[in-house]
Symmetry: C2
Subunit: 173 residues, 2 copies
């Protein structure tokens, strides 16, 4: 695929949007829209009682609260694992000693380049309070991991990264 | 959360982008960016030999080919199940007699409202050739379902909806 021209639509706080005129391998000329987004990191943090840390926050594009893994954007120059550790600490006040990459996934590759690195974290210890940004309103809870897995299977957890993290952790990855 | 003002940034072919000034429950005024996108439907189609239909296509925002479930956007006024049947037919030429909703998920709820309905389909029958749009270049393959599951666990399938569909189907949902 060849880019003929690029129109930069928007360069915002979290996303950049472009509209490109392209030529496909078959010679057809068409338009491709793309949303560029920083990578993200998410954490399946499970403690010694087999309870998982989950956060609830209002998700603006959806218009309601969602139950999700602790997660956030990877800063410029930051390693995904460091972002995962930072976000777990900021959103829950927990530190973990044992980390493992479960998967790196693309949320919506048709239009959006967001890649989410999902880690498991264990040997948890609460070391501080939440340290949220002033415009971040977020509650966290610990629930039995088996209950979270049942919520996935019952369609009560609907966030893609959270479903994937819980299913992969459950499969012993 | 209260919207103070909305700036419509872009109203395109697949996405609409807005930048809103909002007031949070704690009184803080801030900005929220949102990408609005039609819902999508995806299909875990597995035949009587336990082989799954997967498609490969170039994903523009990512810049490379991705292996994914057959999927596409739900048209205005269309039911998600009808979109799933239509996309399976268009992308592979297969029809299925038995359909079941596995999950409805949000791909990236922090910025993007896309909801993806993932169905399983069985009793497959090839009834026609692919019927793609002129700007759609897409190959399909049948591979053993167990191989697809191994590819998920090995991190070789990285599309979120595809991982979720394969893991839920594998769990006997």
């Amino acid at each position: 695929m060849k880019i003929i021209s690029r129109q930069e639509i928007y360069n915002g706080r979290i996303i950049k949007v472009v509209k490109d005129h392209v030529e496909l391998q078959n010679g057809i000329k068409t338009v491709r829209e793309a949303v560029f987004h920083k990578d993200a990191a998410a954490v399946v943090a499970v403690d010694e009682n087999n309870e998982i840390l989950l956060v609830t926050q209002y998700r603006y594009p959806i218009g309601r609260d969602m139950l999700e893994l602790p997660a956030g954007l990877v800063d410029e120059g930051e390693e995904p694992l460091d972002a995962a550790k930072r976000e777990l600490m900021e959103e829950t006040g927990y530190r973990a000693d044992k980390w493992k990459l479960l998967a790196s996934i693309y949320a919506s590759p048709g239009v959006h380049n967001e890649k989410i690195h999902i880690f498991s974290a264990s040997n948890l210890k609460r070391v501080s309070d939440q340290k949220l940004d002033t415009d971040e309103l977020l509650a966290f809870d610990k629930i039995p991991f088996d209950e979270a897995l049942q919520m996935v299977n019952a369609g009560k957890i609907t966030d893609a990264k959270t479903i994937i993290g819980i299913l992969l952790f459950s499969a012993g990855k």
